[in-house]
């Protein structure tokens, strides 16, 4: 009996010793030296793996940061959801200045609510915007408008969007939006845009993507931009943030000063803003007052 125990201990011990040695050498031979900073940086990132930075997940971003730091430049890298706080922390670890991008937020550019753009047909296919878009113009009949099937809501990893059943349009919860841009990519109609948060959270944008002539656009949606050009004229001369292309006005967020003048003149109320405009003052009675005011602006 003693012999059996002894032999088994010796033989198993020998197997263990040989295996340990083999494993030791393999581990040495194929050792991958990983920069410890990658782990540190990855730890600092939000860890949502949203892909907003353009890299495959947070670890991919961290690797890019460290690689960039070794190469001497991390310009162009940044974590949109993390914002400036994360950037500063990463900058400290890497000993470099991380350029914090301007804070952005996703903005919906369609005002085709059930009320303004009633449904004309019914889509019976799978509830996906991408499929509805490929099949036809959608239930409302607008070739550029929101399809209302919520591809953007489904893709949002931060719970920053929901579908408003009353309007049939998605709603972006600003406080939760981290501007990763997943919804922008998911929308087949390119309705959602990332726009700068703006000073004091003041933003003005054209709430429409219709590229149709005014009369045609109005047929399907009462809230469409009809390209009348009133907003372009109303925009202060020094600012000139509004351009008119393909029957659609666009407000350049870099130029816009969020004065809100264009909102009042839009006949279809197609310009939206994050702030309420004060009630318009009664029109001046005397002639020429308006002229004086314009001159003042010029000066």
């Amino acid at each position: 009996m003693d012999g059996i125990i002894l032999y088994s201990v010796i033989s198993l011990g020998a197997v263990a010793a040989i295996s340990a040695m083999v494993l030791f050498f393999i581990a040495k031979k194929f050792n991958v030296v990983e920069d410890p900073r990658i782990d540190v940086v990855a730890e600092l990132l939000p860890g949502a793996n949203c892909g907003g930075c353009g890299y495959p997940g947070c670890r991919g971003m961290a690797e890019a940061f460290v690689k960039g730091a070794d190469a001497g430049s991390i310009a162009g890298l940044g974590c949109p959801p993390g914002g400036s706080a994360t950037s500063e922390k990463i900058g400290k670890v890497l000993g470099m200045e991380v350029a914090a991008g301007e804070p952005m937020v996703a903005v919906l550019r369609c005002g085709g609510t059930h009320e303004k753009a009633p449904k004309k047909t019914e889509f019976d296919g799978p509830s996906k915007c991408s499929i509805s878009h490929a099949v036809y113009t959608g239930e409302k009949g607008c070739p550029n408008g929101c399809l209302g099937l919520g591809d953007c809501v489904k893709i949002c990893a931060f719970g920053a969007m929901y579908m408003d059943d009353k309007t049939g349009l998605p709603v972006i919860i600003e406080a939760k939006c981290v501007s990763c841009g997943a919804c922008v990519k998911a929308c087949p109609r390119k309705i959602i845009e990332l726009r700068p948060l703006g000073r004091k959270n003041r933003r003005v944008w054209v709430n429409c993507r219709s590229l149709e002539k005014g009369a045609v656009a109005m047929k399907v949606c009462k809230a469409a931009c009809i390209a009348c050009g009133k907003c372009v004229k109303e925009c202060p001369e020094k600012v000139q943030a509004i351009t008119l292309d393909n029957f659609l006005a666009y407000i350049d967020p870099k130029k816009c000063i969020a004065c809100g003048k264009c909102i009042a003149v839009c006949p279809t109320k197609a310009i939206s803003a994050t702030f309420e405009m004060p009630a318009p003052k009664p029109k001046p009675v005397e002639d020429g007052t308006a002229e004086v005011k314009k001159e003042e602006v010029k000066q």
């Binding site: 004309k120 047909t121 019976d124 296919g125 799978p126 996906k128 991408s130 499929i131 490929a134 099949v135 036809y136 113009t137 959608g138 009949g141 070739p143």
Partner: protein
């Protein structure tokens, strides 16, 4: 006798060919036509008329300038009202020429009579040139420019012309009627096609649910040596090019290859008629037969319609949209597309207008996949629809590319047969589009 058919997959939906006994009627001229410039596969034609121009029936109004494109001719005489964008059946905008109809004056070069002309005066190259200038496209539904098929690259060996008279789509009867009413013209058309391809053998595949057409075609074909009629077992999608070749000549077209690679050219029977009219009478493709049908319709009919006629007129001709209609389909019930408005016009590819009531229009509630494998067994291309659907849902495009998603002919047999009513084809189409996009991006690099 055992009838020929293709071996892999296939379904047999209820035929519902209600309009089979309605003779073709010529629809009265509309007041205004709107003729889209992209009625075919390939680049849209460029309009060559402008507002205020006078046109006759057969005047060239759109020129197809790229390799895969087709000419468009005026289907009416009158004045060009506008050249602008209009809605097509999907609701998206397409460029179109809108013409106000005045009288019915034909171009002088067109022989405008019903008399049969048997002698083929033109030579092979001239025939192809004529097919091109007359804007002939495949009338089976896909509208591929026909002249491209006839430009056979050097070194390719051709031996058989396969004529597609299968009409495997339920409801549609347009091809059935022309085979009964214009048999001789079709046969001469086939002779012209054989001459253009410099071959002697043509086989017409007809499904066995059209015995009268088979009998009539066989009788007339006896006078045309080299043209055989091949009755086929009723099975969908037999009218698809690759399936038809398998059925008729028992050859398999490999993945990514063309019928030319197995020595065949496939054309629709309607195209044969259009080629006859183009070559013998110099008549461009300006009209086609459209089946207007539906279960609730008191009088399903086949109309000879000028291209560009509003679908509204067809609806009026059959007595308005029947009560309880929930869906109007442009094309066959399996592959056709629902229209979002009847204000669209009839194009070269409009084979039918079908009215569906609630029971046919609605999709059933989607249930979970039960892995029964029915979609795999009915897929005529031997694909795995259930797997591709799942992968599309997860956006795994590279994997569905490996599963040969681009081989899918979009016949819809998988969706039709699925006991869980899963939207297989919708998702596979989405996958196809994405795979094509990825391939395009790759080719740019």
């Amino acid at each position: 006798m055992k009838l020929k058919t293709f071996k892999i997959g296939g379904v047999h939906p209820p035929e519902n060919k209600m309009a089979a006994n309605s003779p073709i009627e010529a629809l009265s001229l509309p007041k205004r036509v709107s003729i889209p410039m992209n009625q075919h596969i390939g680049a849209p034609a460029n309009p060559v008329v402008k507002k205020g121009d006078d046109v006759k029936v057969g005047t060239l109004i759109g020129k197809g300038e790229s390799f895969i494109s087709a000419n468009i001719h005026s289907s009416v005489s009158g004045k060009v009202f506008a050249v602008e964008t209009v809605m097509d059946t999907t609701g998206y905008k397409v460029k179109a020429v809108i013409i106000d109809v005045e009288g019915d004056v034909w171009e002088d070069s067109i022989i405008h009579s019903g008399a049969l002309i048997k002698d083929i005066k033109l030579e092979s190259a001239e025939i192809v040139e004529r097919i091109k200038s007359c804007g002939i496209v495949g009338l089976g539904g896909a509208c591929f420019p026909t002249h491209v098929k006839y430009m056979v690259p050097e070194g390719k060996k051709l031996d058989t012309l396969v004529i597609n008279a299968v009409e495997c789509e339920p409801y549609l009867t347009a091809d059935h009627r022309i085979m009964l009413e214009r048999t001789e013209e079709i046969m001469v058309g086939i002779e012209i096609m054989k001459k253009a391809l410099k071959i002697n053998r043509a086989i017409v595949g007809i499904e066995a649910n059209k015995p009268d057409a088979i009998a009539k075609m066989e009788k007339v074909a006896a006078n045309f040596p080299g043209t055989e009629i091949q009755p086929l077992k009723v099975q969908y999608p037999q009218g698809a090019e690759k399936q038809l070749i398998k059925s008729v000549v028992n050859r398999e077209v490999p993945s990514g290859k063309l019928p030319l690679d197995v020595g065949c050219v496939v054309n629709n029977v309607g195209t044969a008629l259009a080629i006859y009219e183009a070559v013998q009478k110099n008549k461009p493709l300006i009209e086609r037969v459209v089946t207007v049908t539906g279960k609730k319709l008191s009088k399903p009919a086949n109309y000879l319609v000028r291209i560009g006629t509003p679908v509204d007129m067809l609806v009026e001709a059959v007595g308005g949209i029947p009560e309880g209609t929930e869906k109007i389909v442009n094309g066959g019930p399996m592959m056709g597309k629902a229209v979002s408005t009847t204000e669209v016009s009839v194009t070269k590819g409009t084979s039918g207008i079908i009215f569906f009531d609630k029971s046919e229009a609605r999709r059933k509630r989607i249930a979970n996949c039960i892995r029964c494998g029915k979609c795999v067994s009915v897929c005529a291309m031997g694909l795995e629809p259930y797997l591709m659907e799942k992968l599309v849902e997860k956006s795994r495009w590279e994997e569905i590319e490996k599963l040969a998603v681009t081989d899918c002919i979009e016949c819809g047999s998988c969706s039709y047969t699925c006991p869980s009513s899963r939207p297989l084809l919708d998702l596979i189409r989405l996958g196809k589009a994405n795979v094509n996009r990825i391939r395009w991006e790759r080719s740019k690099k």
